[in-house]
Amino acid sequence: DVKVTQSSRYLVKRTGEKVFLECVQDMDHENMFWYRQDPGLGLRLIYFSYDVKMKEKGDIPEGYSVSREKKERFSLILESASTNQTSMYLCASSWDTYEQYFGPGTRLTVT
């Protein structure tokens, strides 16, 4: 079974802190994605990566950056957390254009 794990299920941070969200997949998938999910807005794509050291902006990249130094790991970085970044963050991976496999999510609260 494909496994996508995220470093934390729940996280509480203060405004202005630098926040790291980590995602690891164990199926050698090329593609990895970060989404945020908010009520009524569905999933919005923040960044994605098709290969190591490659990254592409999604629909809402402002305030975020990413890092993919190894194929299995894709990190989302909030450079200076703000309250409007309080959300559920979902990581996903896929092979080529096949379906995505999602991690359990990280519920981030910024106070």
Binding site: F33, Y35, G40, L41, G42, L43, R44, L45, F48, E56, G58, D59, L90, A92, S94, T97, Y98, E99, Q100, Y101, F102, G103, P104, G105
Partner: protein, 107 residues
């Protein structure tokens, strides 16, 4: 920019009834995905539709794809409570998702 629209966003059904969820998308794509999300859980894949005219069925759910109309449907037959969840469609490209349809099946 690819846009994906689902409707309805909320759906309350009686057990035993049939209904259809619609997913429209704005640019050409030959691949469409349906996912299910239970409350408090992450998303899991239901169907991958690979070509025009593709139809897939699993239990009481059937998904179809019309690439010319840029439309996919998820049909629910004789709904049961266990189908209560939020259903998302997503389109190949950079995997843009619809807003989701929250389905509640009542006895």
């Amino acid at each position: 920019e690819l846009k994906v629209e689902q409707n309805p966003l909320f759906l309350s059904m009686q057990e035993g009834k049939n209904y259809t969820i619609y997913c429209n998308y704005s640019t050409t794509s030959d691949r469409l995905y349906w996912y299910r999300q239970d409350p408090g859980k992450s998303l899991e894949s239901l169907f991958v539709l690979l070509s025009n005219g593709a139809v897939k069925q699993e239990g009481r759910l059937m998904a179809s794809l019309d690439t010319k109309a840029r439309l996919s449907t998820l049909h629910i037959t004789a709904a049961v409570h266990d189908l209560s969840a939020t259903y998302f469609c997503a389109v190949r490209g950079d995997m843009r998702f619809g807003a989701g349809t929250r389905l509640t099946v009542k006895p």
